[in-house]
């Protein structure tokens, strides 16, 4: 799609992408209590970036997120793996999670959970994977 061909799509996308990303963020954080989680949030975020790529072009996406998506996959996998390994330092079996309730400055009493870090790994991996696939195929002639 040549640059600047669809002004409506581009302008709407500028807004919608943030809404989608916010929704993805919501899905990610709410995953432990209600439907959602790292996987869906990852796919949703990738969807937002895809919209960006459709409305503008792939270079814009690369400018917005100046990382190699393969690296993001790797970081995600590393985080997931480290979460599991961390349990070993406390004499627990691999991937044993812990949680607790803390008084946080803005949010009040909040449940913090190591499973969330694991989910972050899943999230990053899914975003990386989806974007790698789509961008690789999209850039291919």
């Amino acid at each position: 799609m040549p640059k600047g061909s669809d002004i409506f799509l581009q302008n709407i996308s500028k807004v919608v992408v943030f809404i989608i990303l916010a929704f993805a963020l919501y899905l990610f954080f709410t995953g432990h209590g209600s439907p959602g989680g790292g996987f869906i949030a990852g796919l949703m975020s990738a969807g937002a970036l895809l919209l960006l790529a459709l409305a503008f072009d792939i270079d814009t996406v690369r400018k917005v997120i100046p990382f190699d998506f393969k690296l993001i996959t790797a970081i995600g996998l590393l985080i997931a793996l480290c979460t599991g390994t961390g349990a070993l330092f406390f004499g627990e079996p691999f991937l044993k999670h812990a949680f607790g309730y803390f008084q946080l400055p803005l949010l009040g009493k909040t449940e913090l959970h190591t499973a969330l870090i694991f989910d972050l790994g899943v999230y990053l991996a899914v975003v990386g994977v989806t974007m790698t696939i789509l961008l690789t195929i999209g850039e291919d002639n």
Binding site: G33, G37, F39, I40, T73, A115, V122, A125
Partner: protein
């Protein structure tokens, strides 16, 4: 000491390659001490064995499996040990003058020869069946290497492969037989099995074990119809033919038959199979030998025939096992003595004859009987050796072959009185066959001597002017033929020390030597045996004078060897048949492979469903069906059914996508919001990817046509659908366990702090799976990246 005697040839074989540092010395000099030392050691043990004491060595190897390196030196194995080391020494000596020193591969030759020698010693000394089998196969391998020694010749490779295939086939059969024996007795030790022999006969596995073991013995000893490898093994260097294919390896089968006699003898089948196979081989081999024009081929068939003779004697000798009275045992057991005596004689004269043929080949450059003749004056010593060897083979006085031939006739005449099996006049077949074969034997022995050394010299057909061989080359055959004369005049020297202990060992069960002793004399009166020999000489002379006139013995005829053609045909049938069979089902078409997989899937699962009594289709625990479910399923079925009928690919993708969104709806109805969310997004992404794929399909193949209809596809697809449905119904009806989901529902918030049970399972209870699933995704994305960015440019 005994185990060291077996070990030394192997150790020595490892050292022989070092001889390349001493390239001026023939490698044979380094080899010679080994057989000589073993021979000397065995001679020193002779008196102890002669007094009835066996030497036993046992070293644990795999005790838990009952496999130990246990070696026994008794009369029978001592005889073989002496043959192997004695003739081995002579052959090494002979080969030093026969094989050129300059040949690079001379060290290979001696390595193989030493390997063979060690293996053969292992075969004859082993008491453990598995160890025996190991050494047995090692002799096959060493023989294979030696036959193909001149591996650049096509005939050598053919002969080596043939002998390998046949002897290994027999070896494997024998291995199975040994294991059946183990199954019956619980031990691999031959002596322990022989001790239980009386309980074995009634076992159902007894006959299969016997036949399998005999298969091994018959293939190794070139018995009819497995003899076909031996004539082709004559492509080996002559010292190898003399050593392996006349004196030692081919006698391994005889060794085994005799060694197994204490176990199997006494069974009627054993008597008939061993005797008749031996006699048929004897007659067939001697008949074929007449028709050969190549000297080594003649000797090969002669070896086959003589091995048949000894085999038949071993079979006939087993008749003694049917009797308990000592006199009758001695009367019928005479055949065993004859077998042992002829075994020694055969090794002696056949070894010398092979060496003579090697000398003739060496000095004239040919082994073809049609080009040879009149060498008597030029090579007097060689022809004298050939004369003695041949006359001994023909069974003429005053050579040792005469004595064993007389004993052979005696045994065959005795067996007429054998009345246990109620064979009646059928027994007459044995002496008649034996006599006919002896006539043929006489004829080919005469051909061997007089066609080669008698007659006129055809100098123009020979490549070089023949002259007498060197003393070194003549030494070994001279020594062997003088043994033939010594044994003839002093047979009892041999009898007390060697033959009696050997016969006692074959008879088994602690027979004392006195009862088996038969004194061997030249002159034993005007007996039927003597008349038979006179008949052999008369008819044999007549036949030798006239045999070229008989159509049956015509040389042209000998090219049409039925058994060889059968072997070649069978081999090519196996090769071509195997290839055709593979071509038949390995079509390279993925569709065909899918059909095989799915048909197997249907057959296996439906078979299980039909034949398992515990599996039933149950409808007890079903929930009530609602309207939405029915509606969704109807729409899903409609869209799914539309996929195969779609006219274009894009339509098919869209229908598939529709099915996916229906599934999302089903997930919603069945209250799985996480699944529904994921399903929806994944379905969208995959439809987009599908469309991408089809957009970039090559123009050539993007013709829009209806899918081809095939009945097989419909049947297989229908079958799979029905099978899966039945399985699903059966699994609903048969599950006897409570689901574990109650645990997750209870514990999700309590111990994991989450209310979304699906997510808690994914990241907490079963986080390990998730870890590797994202790994799978990562690998898939890298794969796609690699395929596209680094992909090989395929030609369109």
């Amino acid at each position: 000491m005994l185990h060291i005697a077996i070990l030394i040839p192997f150790l020595w074989a490892a050292l022989i390659p070092l001889m390349r540092w001493f390239s001026r010395i023939h490698a044979g000099w380094a080899v010679l001490p080994v057989p000589v030392a073993i021979f000397a050691y065995l001679i020193s043990q002779m008196s102890q064995i002669g007094s009835g004491e066996n030497i036993v060595v046992e070293i644990p190897w795999m005790p838990d499996l009952g496999i130990n390196l246990s070696f026994v030196l008794d009369g029978w194995s001592l005889l073989f040990g002496l043959l192997i080391s004695g003739i081995g020494a002579l052959v090494v000596w002979y080969s030093m003058f026969y094989m050129g020193k300059r040949t690079d591969s001379i060290r290979n030759f001696y390595v193989y020869l030493l390997l063979f020698m060690g293996a053969m010693l292992g075969v004859v000394f082993s008491d453990n069946l598995m160890v025996l089998y190991g050494f047995w196969e090692l002799t096959s391998i060493a023989s294979f290497l030696l036959i193909a020694f001149w591996y650049r010749r096509e005939r050598s490779r053919y002969g080596a492969l043939k002998s390998m295939l046949i002897t290994v086939f027999g070896g494997l059969a024998m291995f199975a037989g040994f294991n059946l024996l183990y199954a019956m007795t619980g031990t691999y030790s031959i002596r322990e099995i022989a001790a239980q022999a009386s309980e074995l006969v009634d076992q159902p596995l007894f006959l299969p074990a016997m036949i399998l073991v005999l298969l091994g013995a018959f293939t190794k000893s070139a018995q009819f119809p497995f003899h076909i490898w031996l004539p082709d093994a004559m492509e080996a260097p002559t010292p190898v033919s003399a050593y392996l294919h006349s004196a030692t390896m081919v006698k391994a089968g005889l060794y085994l038959v005799a060694r197994m006699s204490p176990i199997f003898a006494g069974a009627t089948e054993w008597f008939w199979i061993v005797s008749l196979t031996g006699l048929v081989t004897l007659t067939y081999g001697s008949f074929k030998a007449i028709r050969q024009t190549d000297l080594k081929a003649l000797l090969a068939y002669s070896t086959i025939s003589q091995l048949g003779l000894i085999m038949s004697l071993l079979g006939v000798g087993s008749a003694a096992a049917f009797y308990t009275d000592a006199d009758q045992v001695a009367w019928f057991g005479l055949a065993t003595t004859a077998a042992v005596f002829h075994l020694i004689n055969h090794a002696v004269f056949k070894g010398s004859l092979f060496m003579v043929v090697g000398i003739v080949d060496h000095e004239t450059g040919t082994r073809d009987l049609r080009r040879l003749g009149g060498l008597m004056k030029l090579m007097p010593i060689t022809s004298a050796i050939a004369l003695i060897g041949s006359f001994s083979m023909a069974g003429l006085p005053p050579f040792s072959g005469f004595l064993s031939k007389e004993m052979f006739f005696t045994a065959m005449v005795h067996i007429l009185e054998f009345d246990v099996l109620n064979a009646g006049s059928w027994m007459l077949l044995l002496p008649i066959l034996a006599w006919i074969a002896s006539v043929f034997t006489f004829v080919y022995s005469m051909i061997l001597v007089f066609k080669t050394f008698g007659g006129k010299l055809k100098e123009n057909t020979l490549d070089k002017k023949p002259h007498e061989a060197s003393a070194g080359l003549l030494a070994s055959p001279i020594l062997l033929v003088s043994l033939a004369i010594v044994f003839a005049f002093m047979p009892n020297l041999l009898a007390y020390n060697l033959i009696d202990p050997a016969v006692a060992a074959i008879r088994g069960g602690g027979v004392d030597f006195e009862s088996v002793h038969v004194s061997i004399h030249f002159w034993h009166g005007w007996t039927p045996e003597l008349w038979m020999t006179i008949g052999v000489v008369l008819l044999g002379t007549l036949l030798y004078r006239t045999y070229t006139r008989f159509k049956l013995l015509d040389r042209e005829w000998s090219n049409r060897d039925t058994l060889n053609r059968l072997y070649n045909g069978l081999l090519s049938l196996l090769e071509n048949g195997g290839r055709r069979l593979t071509d038949l089902y390995m079509t390279g078409s993925v569709r065909h492979y899918l059909i095989y997989i799915l048909i197997f899937f249907i057959a296996a699962l439906c078979g299980t469903l039909v034949f398992s009594p515990d599996i039933r289709l149950g409808m007890d625990n079903y929930a009530p069906i609602t309207f939405y479910e029915v509606a969704l399923v109807v729409v899903m079925l409609a869209t799914a059914a539309a996929v195969p009928f779609a006219r274009s690919r894009v339509n098919a993708i869209l229908f598939t996508g529709a099915v996916g969104y229906m599934v999302t709806a089903l997930f919603l109805i069945f209250r799985a919001p996480d699944l529904a969310l994921t399903q929806m997004i994944v379905e969208t992404v995959s439809v987009v990817l599908f469309l991408l794929c089809f957009k970039f399909l090559p123009k050539l193949k993007s013709t829009k046509e209806r899918p081809v209809f095939k009945w097989t596809n419909l049947l297989v697809a229908g079958g799979v659908g029905v099978t899966v449905t039945l399985i699903a119904l059966a699994s609903m009806g048969s599950s006897p366990f409570e689901p574990i989901s109650t645990y997750f529902l209870n514990e999700s918030y309590k111990s994991a702090g989450g209310k979304n049970v699906v997510n808690v399972i994914l990241v907490d209870f079963r986080g390990f799976d998730t870890l590797f699933e994202i790994m799978v995704l990562g690998v898939a994305s890298l794969g796609i990246f690699g395929l596209i960015k680094l992909g090989v440019q395929t030609t369109p």
